[in-house]
Amino acid sequence: MADPVEHGITANQANSLRHGPDERGHFGGWYGGRFVAETLMPLVLELEQAYNAAKADPSFQKELDFYLRDYVGRPSPLWFARRMTEELGGAKIYMKREELNHTGSHKLNNVMGQILLARRMGRTRIVAETGAGQHGVATATVCALFGMKCVIYMGATDVERQSPNVFRMRLLGAEVVPVTAGAGTLKDAMNEAMRDWVANVADTYFLVGTVAGPHPYPAMVRDFQSVIGEETKEQMQAAEGRLPDVVVAAIGGGSNAMGIFHPFLDDSSVGLIGVEAAGCGLDSGKTAASIERGRPGVLHGNRTYLLQNADGQIDEAHSISAGLDYPGVGPEHSWLSDIGRAEYVGATDTEALDAFQLCTRTEGIIPALESAHAIAYAAKIAPTLPKDTLLVVNISGRGDKDIFTVAEHLGVKL
């Protein structure tokens, strides 16, 4: 029963990989699901119903489209990175410019969808977890936009290493609660946000920032982020008259990757590569590479690959990037990895720092350290690929928030 391989693929997914999850929220019959306390089950079921109703209501999509265009600033461009391509001397590199969204990352795509849903559901108070603070800032932003109460849980370690984002959230009117449990990172913030939700079920909406958590979050967040891949598909057709050959994205929880992957799942010619944070190295014991170094288990409402010890206790993750510093990954990625539709690799802290500088120097784009992991792997494989290979790398966020971390690692005092 506990062998995920035998659950790899089920009959109704034989024709399309885009139909998941099943009605229990399972991907491939095993990953995902709804592993929450009974107090939360009615809420999770209510959310699923509300989301299904919204999805079927054209006025909801119309409203979302309006905000995506006029507030978020979509569509985001697909940029041909000429100088980086020349410097690497291989595949043609395109960048999907999610860092140009309002608030500086892909996070707002999902947050905008969910805040409109929370309003439809009559909720007045929003809680969210955040790692790097990008999701927290995005959430605080829409709460300001719609005049809603906002509480953001953030690990105490992250509060320290992402202080500009903490200040931004507070300016936006959010209450930022530092979480000191554990190592004080994203995992601990997630625990605390779930505790808040359990305790405040009547008025509170839990605005999850990634493609993880109990069903329907992984599917819902993926749907809201799929605008990235849909635009990429159209834009590449316009630019090159065909689909890309390779799509590369960074993976923490995996929402920017799922958003750019999902529209391509049935296009078997398109290679999909998720880049996990290898931290100090995949085998250093200080890593956040859940798929490559973890095994399936249950945490935060879903079954997925987790960094854990032999006794099923969850390990602390490590990454230079606070946004990737999480011992799990979205369940759909676990499934895509098992069936081999997407490939998952790692980039170390050092490789990400190098890529951060490469991108800044050659393209004039300062990427988030999260996105720098994707750039690092793209830069590694580009020289090995023919010049007519079309490679898209998702620039999920901008790196202003990371300049202090980068300066410290480069030995520069700001």
């Binding site: 699901g33 009974e38 995992k187 945490l299 006794d311 099923g312």
Partner: protein, 280 residues
């Protein structure tokens, strides 16, 4: 008849509800928690919940979180917890032991093997906080084959329709989470409890125990008289934590203080609801 069913039956014959204290395995070390477990029945525990420490107890408040951390630091593992229960069973054949915790360590252990080993160790039931009936197929069959009850939590947020569904997957007894929230924070009013019970009774013939937020002997007596049992956890763990030295080690105070508190709770539960309280 299972130990759990036998115990609730004999208490019903006595005309009182059960006191169900909780301890976290290996908190603050194996020896102390095993000694506490062994001493609990004589102090008045009718059933005992043993917490299986987990790194990410997302439904628990700060007190149980801290206890779980101490347990893990002391080296708690699932095999270790089962060995602890087996040790207890050498001396006590009647008091039901229920393991409470989160799913992942059990999934890592392996469902079939865990149920077999737990039953062999003398465990009577399981409360798995993050395993709703929707996902319980992984463990229901091996648990049933091993003779382990799966105790279901139900909450104030559980609708009548859902109550019927959840309880169709329950055995042993029903654990009523009396508040919406995490362990050890709020306390439900007597009025809320009295409102809730008929709804539960209509949906199940199983005994009902009330937990989350029961702190005082009076609250325990009230819950045990309205329902069939009262679970007391955080307040006992808080007392234990108070007795530890600066390094988090047990002291000569640790066992006596926790046991004294259990005795006070047991005395109140056995005395029933104070007359002045009957009408409230």
């Amino acid at each position: 008849m299972s130990r759990i069913a036998a115990r609730f039956k004999s208490l019903a014959a006595e005309g009182r509800g059960a006191l169900i204290p909780y301890l976290e395995a290996y908190d603050p070390d194996l020896e102390t928690s095993l000694a506490l477990l062994k001493a609990m029945p004589a102090a008045g525990a009718d059933l005992i919940e043993v917490g299986m420490p987990f790194s990410d107890p997302s439904a628990d408040g700060p007190v149980i979180q801290a206890a779980a951390r101490r347990g893990l630091k002391a080296g708690a593992t699932l095999p270790g917890v089962l060995a602890m229960v087996a040790e207890f069973r050498k001396e006590n054949a009647e008091t039901p032991v229920i393991l409470m915790g989160y799913l992942n360590p059990i999934e890592a252990y392996g469902y079939d093997r865990f149920c077999t080993d737990a039953a062999k160790a003398g465990v009577d039931g399981l409360i798995i906080v993050d395993l709703p009936p929707e996902e319980a197929d992984v463990i229901e069959k091996p648990a049933e084959e091993a003779g382990l009850d799966i105790i279901r939590l139900v909450a104030p947020t559980t609708s009548d329709e859902r109550l019927r569904y959840v309880l169709s997957h329950a055995s042993g007894f029903v654990y009523y989470v009396s508040i919406t929230g995490i362990t050890g924070t709020r306390t439900a009013s007597k009025h809320d409890l009295k409102e809730a019970l008929p709804r539960l009774r209509a949906a199940t013939d199983l005994p009902v125990a009330i937990g989350f937020g029961i702190r005082s002997p009076e609250q325990a007596a009230t819950a045990a008289s309205i329902a069939d049992g009262a679970v007391v956890a955080s307040v006992l763990l808080a007392t234990l934590a108070e007795t530890l030295d600066a390094d988090g080690k047990a002291t000569a105070e640790t066992l006596p203080r926790v046991l004294e508190q259990i005795r006070a709770l047991a005395a109140a539960v056995r005395a029933g609801v104070p007359a002045a309280d009957q009408t409230a």
